[in-house]
């Protein structure tokens, strides 16, 4: 078990490094540099003093060879210093730190809604003996996955803000302001949870051990909750781990649609401004959350399925 955790942590470090490096390379290949963008934003028109630009570039280290820049940035990043954001001049870590709580609220609420609504839908759809209800419920997830997030957002705003005036259309005001964006984000996520859980529940209900349980005299509910659900929860859990990454990405769109402050909007702004240090910070931070979530998910597996630790050990010993 300890070996397993250590191995997974080493993998996590590798993923973070890869995320950093790839984002660095991509940003380097983009035309122009942040100094030009920054200087251009400051002036209305006309020529910028080339000497001034060169001084700025020197200050941020953009005049050095790419490899040297990469090594310097990486060296500092390892110590937790991602430098200062070019656009605002504030440390990248504090920009992210300020935006984070809003986004965590949003994605956390969305994840909760997705698991509760998606999981509930899957449970009801597979439990009911009414064929029409099952068919109806099972047709919802594909619909939820296929409609675009921003369209769902606009629809919700149109209905619940402008017509019914139940919830505010934008802004960060407390719980009421959280409902619509979280719901928007939860629709595609919950749909995927529902799809995977329903499918694996149906598979589990088809297994021989379910017949054994029925032969014991177990009722529908017992078979569903005590036998099928735990066996079916593993694939759903895997999906939840992957969806966390999707939620972070989705927050970019949702925070823009609902004009909420948060990491998503910081990211959108940073990319537009080619704010390399900030973008890098966001990318590495996103990767960190994703890796951490999936590590937790992997550590939960053995608690749900006793066969799993054995399997991972075996793989390790044959490698």
């Amino acid at each position: 078990m300890r070996r397993y955790v250590i191995k997974r942590l080493a993998q996590a470090v590798g993923v973070l490094w890869a995320a950093y490096t790839v984002s660095f390379l991509v940003l380097d290949f983009l035309p122009g540099d942040p100094v030009t963008a920054m200087a251009g934003a400051g002036m209305d028109s006309g020529q910028v003093d080339p000497a001034q630009l060169a001084a700025l570039r020197h200050e941020y280290g953009f005049d050095k060879p790419v490899l040297v820049q990469y090594a310097e940035y990486l060296g500092r990043a390892v110590r937790g210093d991602f430098g200062d954001a070019v656009s605002s001049g504030r440390p990248v870590t504090s920009v992210i730190g300020d935006a984070l709580p809003q986004t965590l609220q949003l994605t956390g609420a969305a994840l909760l809604l997705a698991v509760v609504l998606g999981g509930g839908l899957a449970m009801v759809a597979t439990y009911t003996s009414r064929r029409w209800l099952r068919q109806l419920l099972l047709s919802l997830p594909p619909l939820g996955v296929s409609v675009p997030t921003f369209w769902v957002g606009l629809l919700l705003v149109e209905t619940f803000s402008f017509r019914l005036h139940w919830f505010p259309a934008f802004g960060n005001d407390g719980l009421r302001g959280l409902v619509l964006p979280a719901l928007t984000l939860a629709v595609p996520t919950g749909a995927q949870v529902a799809q995977v859980l329903a499918k694996s529940l149906l598979t589990a209900l088809d297994q021989a051990y379910v017949e054994t349980a029925r032969a014991k005299g177990a009722g529908r509910r017992r078979v569903h909750l005590r036998h099928a659900l735990r066996n079916a929860s593993l694939p759903a859990l895997t999906v939840v781990g992957l969806l966390v990454g999707q939620l972070i990405a989705g927050s970019v769109v949702v925070e823009t649609v609902f004009s909420r402050d948060g990491l998503g909007r910081v990211t959108a702004a940073a990319v537009t401004a080619q704010d390399i240090p900030l973008v890098q910070g966001v990318v590495v931070f996103g990767a960190l959350i994703f890796v951490a979530t999936n590590l937790i998910v992997d550590l939960v597996y053995p608690l749900l399925d006793p066969r799993i630790v054995v399997a991972s050990d075996r793989r390790a010993s044959f490698a």
């Binding site: 021989a208 017949e211 054994t212 014991k216 005299g217 399925d305 054995v310």
Partner: protein, 582 residues
């Protein structure tokens, strides 16, 4: 019909009385009848066996008793009287008080019939909890007690373990414990041991029977194995195509089978007809040392066994093969498992060498070593005189061309999206043999060889029966005209009558093409029909080798004797004598 029993005493009243039972399954093509008007009685305290091939409706009948049918199965007509109730019309809630409490079920495959994420003890205790026979507190201790009765060693320790930590035999004992926990009047055992090794099978069935006798529980035993039924059942019900074709006392039915189908089933059952040799074979001294010795004339009913030239280089020669696997670390020590331990064997062209043993004996690993599908830890493999022990790349590929494989399960070994033509020509395409037209011609010729019509070319595997699929797999293996075909349990997934046909086909192809077979099987009865030479394996070692006639008449090793004794059907001597005489 049931009127005859109504006024009788308790002993003459069946415990379970099925009348006119019809069950069908809904499919895309409409309702498919699986059971048509079946009458069946089970008397208290007796073992009644339902025998038939796959698709005969025997399993469906057994499951219909407690209405544990697949979701698309429905009971169309008939009554299932059990005690005072008609189970066919009972409400689901009332039925639940019968299931587990008054009728226990021992399912077919113990490896998938226990919930993998729950402890053994919990799963046994669940029956007691559902029927209110134990409190939350007492259930655990009582579960251990029931596991003990079911013959699970170290029941207290085992009850804390998960199913994957137990062997197949132990898991079947757990399922027996589940079935007997509530003290039922009837146990329905659906092929309870067909997934287990033959020696384990015997022990489990003995124990189940013993438990039933002790408590006066009746057993409805569903099996495809006439030998098992003959050993255990007082009464026999033979089913074919959803109908009961014959029923009565086991002895009577077997001694004087009246229905054509029963006779065919008897003739095809390898375990019954070959548990004792048909013709006494004179003992031959020390044939073991010279495997190239020409074969003795086979018994008349056995397939022709062509002789091999005595002086030829052996096709396959394995010397001191060892294969070790590393096991998961336990307590910091890394352990290894010797799956194959110092195995030597010789196989000549046109001959059949059978590797016999139970699961885990190393017979499949040995075959994989010979085929170079896995690397040997030590030892040497010579193929047609050349050392191929470490053959890589082009040389290994050349070996692939000359050595082919037929797998156990014809339902899984054919790509469902390929047409049969694609399946058979795939090896030809892989080795770029011929053009499209000549490959198709070859496929047609091969189909003809395995006695399938040329129209089969266009069909998909799903449209064929198990026996037909295995013929296709054999045609595919022969496509490149290999020198060696490894048959890994090629008939164990097939019905007995189909088994005989496939074995005949293999023997015929050998006579025509001179191909050598390395034949892996757990079934001594099957081996007897096809092999020239047999190697009995146990725990990675070859414990005995010799021609099958010798092994059957004069087994030298203790383990071979044990295997022979475990063949079902040996306990009904009078009946065996009858059928072998006819």
């Amino acid at each position: 019909m049931s009127d005859a029993h109504e006024n009788g005493e308790d002993v003459t009243t069946p415990l379970l009385e099925i009348r006119g039972l019809s069950v069908s399954y809904r499919t895309r093509a409409g309702a498919v009848p699986a059971v048509r008007g079946v009458d069946l009685d089970v008397w208290p305290g007796q073992v009644t066996a339902v025998v038939g091939e796959s698709g005969s409706g025997k399993s469906t009948t057994a499951h219909a008793v407690t209405r544990l049918l697949a979701a698309n199965g429905t009971i169309d007509a008939g009554t299932v009287r059990f005690g005072r109730h008609d189970l066919a019309t009972l409400s689901e809630a009332e039925l639940r008080t019968v299931r587990g409490a008054r009728i226990g079920l021992v399912p077919q495959d113990p490896t998938v019939s226990l919930n993998p994420v729950k402890r053994i003890g919990e799963q046994v205790a669940e029956v007691l909890r559902i029927h209110g026979l134990a409190t939350r507190r007492s259930a655990a201790a009582e579960a251990v007690e029931v596991l003990n009765r079911a013959g699970l060693p170290d029941a207290a320790v085992r009850s804390r373990q998960y199913p994957h930590e137990l062997s197949g035999g132990m898991r079947q004992r757990v399922l027996i414990a589940v079935a007997i926990a509530a003290g039922p009047e009837l146990i329905i055992a659906d092929e309870p041991t067909s997934a287990l090794d033959v020696t384990v099978q015997r022990v489990i069935l003995d124990h189940l029977q013993h438990l039933a006798e002790e408590s006066g529980t009746a057993i409805l035993l569903v099996t495809h194995d006439l030998g098992v039924a003959a050993d255990r059942a007082r009464r026999l019900v033979v089913m074919s195509q959803g109908r009961v074709v014959e029923a009565g006392e086991t002895r009577t039915v077997l001694a004087d089978p009246r229905h054509e189908y029963t006779r065919r089933l008897l003739a095809a059952a390898p375990s019954l007809t070959t548990a004792r040799p048909r013709t006494p074979v004179p003992a031959t001294p020390s044939t073991l040392a010279s495997p190239a010795k020409p074969a003795k004339p086979a018994s008349p009913a056995a397939p022709a066994k062509p002789a091999a030239p005595a002086d030829a280089t052996p096709l396959v020669e394995a010397r001191n093969l060892v294969k070790e696997f590393r096991l998961p670390r336990a307590g910091g020590e890394s352990r290894t498992l010797r799956a194959v331990d110092d195995v030597s064997l010789t196989l000549h062209r046109g001959r059949t060498l059978a590797l016999v043993g139970e699961s885990g004996s190393g017979k499949s690993t040995t075959a994989r070593l010979v085929l170079r599908l896995t690397d040997a830890t030590s030892g040497q493999v010579r193929f047609d005189g050349a050392d191929v022990t470490t053959a890589k790349g082009a040389r290994a590929r050349a070996l692939r061309r000359r050595a082919q494989l037929v797998y156990q399960n014809p339902y899984a070994s054919l790509d469902p999206r390929f047409s049969i033509g694609d399946v058979i020509t795939e090896p030809l395409r892989a080795f770029r043999v011929g053009d499209r037209a000549s490959r198709l011609a070859r496929a047609r010729e091969l189909l003809d060889r395995v006695a399938l019509s040329a129209t089969t070319l266009e069909r998909r595997p799903a449209e064929l029966s198990g026996g037909q699929r295995q013929r296709v797999a054999i045609a595919r293996a022969l496509a490149l005209s290999p020198d060696l075909v490894v048959c890994d349990e090629p008939v164990s997934a097939l019905d007995v009558s189909v088994q005989a046909q496939v074995l005949d086909l293999l023997a015929e192809l050998q006579a025509d093409t001179g191909v050598a077979y390395l034949f892996i099987s757990h079934d001594l009865a099957v081996v007897r029909q096809i092999a020239h030479q047999v190697a009995v394996m146990r725990a990675g070692r070859v414990v005995e080798t010799g021609p099958p006639e010798d092994l059957f008449t004069e087994p030298r090793h203790e383990y071979t004797r044990e295997l022979l004794a475990a063949i079902p059907g040996g306990r009904a001597p009078s009946f065996t004598a009858e059928t072998t005489a006819s």
